[in-house]
């Protein structure tokens, strides 16, 4: 255990940021009671494309661009020994997705992993992070987008049953750069992700998309935080979740701040939850704070509902049995977002997983 432990403010569960999280299931990531193992589990899959550099540097060689109030992120910053760097040179257009793979590390000891992704001016790329297997992982990914660059950042949380994953994915977006993130959480015991965004110049845009499906006993939490601190930036958030089974719990927080300087802001956030059985609970808290009236638009919506009887009736009236009709409706619910990964292979894998979760939940 690290000697730095005493410097942290260990959360009690009463804090706004922690009030939904079952701290006793964080495996000690929040209070330092877990042993840290130097695993270096993140690897680049396949050959390195031209204009792309994948490396590891000692932590003091890579500055932290954005500090965090989150104790797990603070631990990652202080205790990870090195930083994984993925850099894409200016004007590089990477034609195929870059896959980053996390191999299973087991459930004894935790990994603290710091990652830096940086796109040079006018670079374009898709990065897909695949998390699967067993792990206890504290993670901080800083994403720096230079002017005019574009990144589609996909993270797949396909963890197996006992895994615990607490992470921040923080994007800093410069002038006319655009960031699309797609966060998929379908596995693990406890997953707590902080997709956060700050804009550093006008004309920047961020689209945060996500899907999650929690079954019995799983806790999936996504806390979005978007800081509009400069004029004329645009943000869109669309997260869709499904829950089935006893004690399935999801939390979605959408904090959007429009500061006084952020004239011309255009933002909209949406969270929709589908409750597929009793005993599951979806918390959904959109929160918009506006300090200037000179904006293009700002809005949010949050809905939590059950299966639409009319849809099920329509499908069944064509001979489709109930369980199959439910499967179609759930797949359809998620398709809007999953199809935007634009990978048939991943789409089919995720849909199969969703089918499995649905049938496991006894639907």
């Amino acid at each position: 255990m690290s000697v730095l432990t005493t410097n942290y403010l260990t959360p009690t569960g009463r804090e706004e940021a922690w009030r939904f999280t079952p701290l006793n299931r964080l495996a000690g990531l929040h209070d330092g009671s877990v042993a840290i193992v130097d695993r270096k589990s993140l690897a680049l899959k396949g050959a390195t494309p031209a204009g792309v550099r994948f490396s590891r540097l000692s932590r003091e060689l890579v500055s932290i661009e954005s500090t965090s109030q989150d104790v797990v992120v603070q631990r990652v910053h202080a205790e990870s020994t090195d930083v994984v760097l993925l850099e894409i040179a200016a004007n590089t257009q990477v034609p195929e997705p870059i896959f980053l793979n996390r191999t299973s590390g087991g459930l004894i000891g935790a990994e603290l992993s710091r990652v830096r992704i940086a796109l040079g001016a006018h670079a374009r790329a898709t990065i897909i992070v695949e998390n699967s297997g067993e792990a206890i992982l504290g993670e901080d990914v800083e994403i720096l987008l230079a002017p005019g660059s574009h990144l589609k950042f996909v993270t797949l949380q396909e963890w197996s049953a006992g895994s615990v994953h607490a992470a921040r994915h923080h994007a800093i977006i410069d002038k006319d750069a655009s960031f699309v993130s797609i966060t998929v959480t379908v596995g693990g015991s406890l997953v707590r992700l902080l997709p956060t965004v700050e804009f550093s110049a006008p004309g920047a845009s961020a689209e945060l998309l996500g899907v999650y499906f929690a079954t019995a006993g799983q806790h999936f939490e996504h806390r979005i935080d978007i800081e509009h601190g400069v004029p004329r930036a645009r943000s869109r958030v669309n997260y869709k979740g499904a829950l089935a089974g006893d004690q399935a719990h999801t939390v979605w927080i959408g904090d959007v701040f429009i500061r006084a300087a952020a004239e011309g802001t255009d933002t909209y956030e949406l969270n929709r939850n589908l409750l597929l059985s009793d005993g599951a609970r979806a918390d959904s808290v959109p929160n918009l704070e506006i300090e200037t009236g000179e904006i293009v638009g700002a809005g949010h919506a949050s809905t939590t509902g059950r299966f639409d009887d009319e849809q099920l009736f329509y499908l069944m009236s064509r001979g489709i049995p109930l369980d199959e009709a439910r499967r179609l409706v759930v797949r359809g619910f998620f398709a809007e977002i999953i199809s935007q990964i634009q990978s048939e292979e991943i789409e089919e894998r995720l849909m199969t997983r969703i089918d499995d979760e649905l049938s496991k939940a006894g639907q």
Partner: protein, 250 residues
């Protein structure tokens, strides 16, 4: 040869304020190859009858019976009714986000036929059914009824009728919202299905216009939740001329 037999059917709609009685003893018998037109004022319970036959969960049958060739339809789940040979073309077809028409049709055909149709012949079958109804092939990649115009939804219903080949079809105001050309195209689709499968038809409509294309053998006047008069095709012309005043307000 199939017979759908409706005897003394009483149905309530389930609302938040409790059940409301709508159908008060409906008697109707539809056999293969026959076309029955049902006409009646707004709110008289025509769609309630259609939904009750199909098994919509919003309606509760409180009396009477529905049988198909002697089998108790009321004991069947919604999908079992379709498998037994019943089909409902809805007045307001439902949008199903994220589910493509092609996936939907194939899933339905697989369920009804008991095995997945051979991909080759199936694609041809769907294409033919679409072009017969003047539907652009791009509809198969769109989500079920999502963003379809009123007329496109109705064509989509009749396309399913042709593909899924039921024994008895209930067409609930299939003609509403169709332009003159679409009315003819859709009617031809219904007539093809009838010729191909000796289909029995219960056709709910407000207008005699469609009856010029789909010739009814019987016309039933529906008012206050029951059939109040029956006759041949000439009854439809009388209704068009005189309205329902004679049948309501009793």
């Amino acid at each position: 040869m199939s017979t759908l037999d409706i005897r003394g059917l009483e149905v309530s709609v389930i609302t938040e304020k409790g059940p409301i009685e709508i159908l008060r003893g409906v008697d109707l018998t539809i056999r293969s190859g026959q076309t029955h037109a049902v006409m009646g004022p707004n709110g008289s319970g025509k769609s309630t009858l259609a939904y009750s036959i199909a098994g919509h969960p919003k309606y509760r049958v409180t009396g009477g019976s529905i049988t198909l060739d002697g089998a108790n339809v009321l004991e069947m789940t919604v999908d079992q009714r379709a498998k037994a040979g019943l089909f409902l073309a809805m007045q307001y077809p439902v949008e199903v986000p994220g589910v493509s028409v092609s996936n939907f049709l194939r899933t339905a055909a697989t369920a009804l036929r008991g095995e997945a149709p051979k991909l080759r012949t199936w694609v041809g079958e769907v294409k033919a059914a679409m072009s017969a109804l003047n539907m652009d092939p791009s509809f198969s990649e769109r989500n079920v009824n999502e963003g379809f115009s009123g007329g496109e939804k109705k064509r989509h219903e009749i396309m399913q009728l042709e593909l899924l080949k039921p024994k008895i079809a209930i067409l609930d105001e299939t003609d509403s919202g169709l332009d003159v050309d679409a009315l003819r195209i859709v009617s031809e689709g219904v007539n093809r299905a009838k010729a191909a499968n000796d289909l029995g038809i219960l056709l709910i409509t407000h207008y005699t216009r469609i009856l010029r294309y789909i010739k009814p053998d019987f016309v039933h006047v529906f008012a206050n939740g029951r059939v109040v008069e029956e006759g041949g095709p000439e009854l439809a012309d009388k209704l068009e001329a005189e309205g329902y005043a004679e049948y309501v307000g009793s």
